[in-house]
């Protein structure tokens, strides 16, 4: 049902202006290459969904690709704030950004409900916090058997989910392992699915019991080695903590940020050239 295509083709064919797009990967396997390609193709008015926005959305938001963010924790892990995200929220630069904030548990269950074709999920949470004051998509729900009151949140069904994985086989089955976070649910909740992978192999090693996303659940597979850099791909390369630290001063300044993105993202052909470009400059990672 899917074919191996270039990332450029996949983003052009499957991501439209105005789409709700989820790029997932919980610290591990964050699809940076796909984010850059979305920026390069100047996709607009996106509703971005992601549990932990991280640098990947700081870059997209800073380039004005998003009109809304649905999330549960936004920060540069271990370093500090996401300055582009904050600038968009507080000062509307380069454009205003609407927020829908949930908890991690809420986001995880929203994806699960979406993957299950249910309109909502039920959990214990939110009550007593200030979240329901700023987030309208939280409702009480009573158990029909015990009468106990719990919390309902609506399902997430993005137009497009993008994840990065270690491997695909020739048929387009996708294999990921290590910390697998919310990727399976994000992919299965979406109408269209793009997967970038470290490599395409003839066959997976037998009985690894990693998560396999069967090819019928995937619309496009794109081989993009190191496509999760500066995050990591278990078994392939480590997280570049140095990049995350070096991002702070870049993201803090509008001009520096624009310059960096123009040089290393807009001004390159693809992610391989992006990696050469930042390494040539020696500033990061």
């Amino acid at each position: 049902m899917n074919e191996t295509v270039t990332l450029r083709e996949a983003i052009a064919a499957l991501v439209n202006d105005g789409d709700t797009v989820a790029l997932e990967g919980f610290t591990h396997l964050i699809p940076f290459a796909a984010a850059h390609e979305i920026v390069r193709q100047e996709k607009k008015d996106l509703t971005l969904v992601r549990m932990t926005p991280d640098l990947v959305y700081d870059q997209m938001i800073g380039m004005g690709a998003a009109k809304k963010l649905v999330f549960s924790w936004g920060g540069n892990p271990g370093v500090g704030s996401l300055h582009r995200f904050r600038d968009a929220v507080e000062r509307g630069w380069p454009r205003a950004l609407e927020l829908e904030e949930h908890s991690h548990a809420g986001m995880a269950n929203r994806y699960s409900a979406g993957a299950s074709n249910l309109p909502f999920a039920v959990l214990r949470g939110y009550v007593g916090t200030d979240l329901p004051k700023v987030t309208p998509t939280i409702e009480p729900i009573a158990c029909p058997f015990t009468g106990e009151e719990l919390t309902a949140v609506p399902a997430l069904n993005p137009d497009v989910a993008v994840i990065h994985a270690q491997q695909a086989d020739r048929k387009g089955n996708v294999l990921l392992w290590g910390i697998t976070g919310i990727q399976k649910e994000a992919a299965l909740s979406a109408k269209r699915v793009i997967v970038t992978v470290e490599e395409v192999v003839d066959a997976f090693e037998e009985h690894t019991f990693g998560i396999v996303l069967p090819s019928v659940a995937v619309d496009a597979v794109c081989a993009v080695p190191q496509g999760a850099y500066p995050s990591y791909a278990h078994g392939y390369y480590a997280r570049s903590n140095a990049f995350y630290e070096a991002w702070d001063p870049v993201g803090r300044d509008r001009e520096k940020f624009r310059g960096w993105m123009e040089r290393h993202v807009l001004g390159v052909e693809d992610f391989a050239e992006h990696l050469r470009s930042i390494r040539r400059e020696g500033a990061m990672g």
């Binding site: 919980f26 936004g74 892990p77 929220v89 908890s103 995880a108 959990l123 214990r124 007593g128 997280r239």
Partner: protein
């Protein structure tokens, strides 16, 4: 992080050691990143080798050699007993009541142990979340909560900018009405001392000072009129073993970071 008047350890080291001692061996502990992760791993490497550390990325029984920078470092998965999906860690473990201790940091705390971990900005005059709170469910569902944060008037506030995680709510029995399984904050460890909720009112009460700290310092660093226990204890200073293990852990962590930079 200055050395405490020739005592041979810093106030942060005292705080981390004191917090680590609160974690019992064998406890299942949901660990926040940063200071709590440092203290929980110190406990694991000293008196609590059988504690089970859970990180929200889905690692159960994590045994990191070096401290993770993020909640989902490969280090956490590498030696874990089990790695599960994010829905599973929140539903089958945290919400299910399998977590004995939630070990949390915060940006702000109020007198009832309610926490703000949401960085709040303002946009069009409206207050809004600029970082997000992540997982309020830890404070809700863990059987009890250990909190760690540095004592300062910016952190210990009369009113939170945002209630991310519910502690003892408005005090007394008011938390119970929310129906959460967990009992709420059992102890708060700062760089000055130890605070425990009053049995009745649930208001945070200074019950011990670290060596060299004073009640006045604690009062000045608290944004409300701090209650002080009648019998005020003094924290045992860090043992040589505790300091050695903590410093080894931190230097291993530093070395590993430099390595990936190179």
């Amino acid at each position: 992080m200055t050395e405490g008047e020739g005592r041979g350890y810093t106030a942060d080291e005292m705080m981390t050691v004191a917090a680590s001692r609160e974690l019992n061996d064998g406890a299942v502990c949901f660990v926040g990143i940063g200071l709590p992760s440092q203290a929980a791993n110190l406990a694991r490497l000293t008196h609590a080798p059988e504690c089970v550390l859970i990180y929200e990325s889905g690692t159960i029984g994590a045994k990191p050699e070096v401290l993770p920078l993020s909640i989902g470092d490969g280090e956490l998965a590498e030696h874990a007993d089990s790695v599960v999906s994010v829905p599973e860690i929140f539903n089958y473990w945290l919400q299910a009541g399998r977590v004995d201790v939630g070990f949390l940091g915060a940006a702000q705390i109020d007198r009832f142990g309610n926490l703000n971990t949401t960085v709040v900005g303002s946009y069009g005059g409206r207050r809004c979340a600029c970082r997000g709170g992540g997982c309020p469910e830890i404070a809700a569902s863990a059987r009890e909560v250990i909190i760690m944060l540095r004592h300062s008037p910016r952190a210990f506030v009369d009113e939170l900018a945002f209630v991310t995680s519910v502690g003892h709510r408005h005090g007394g029995d008011s938390r119970r009405e929310l129906g959460y399984a967990g009992a709420g904050p059992a102890v708060t460890i700062t760089d000055l001392g130890v605070l425990r909720p009053d049995l009745e009112t649930k208001e945070l009460t200074l019950t011990a000072l670290h060596p060299g700290s004073t009640v006045e310092e604690a009062r000045e660093a608290t944004g409300w009129e701090l209650r002080v226990a009648e019998e005020l204890g003094t924290t045992e200073p860090p043992t040589e073993e505790e300091l050695r293990v903590l410093r080894d852990l931190k230097s291993r962590t530093e070395a590993a970071r430099k390595e990936t930079k190179a």
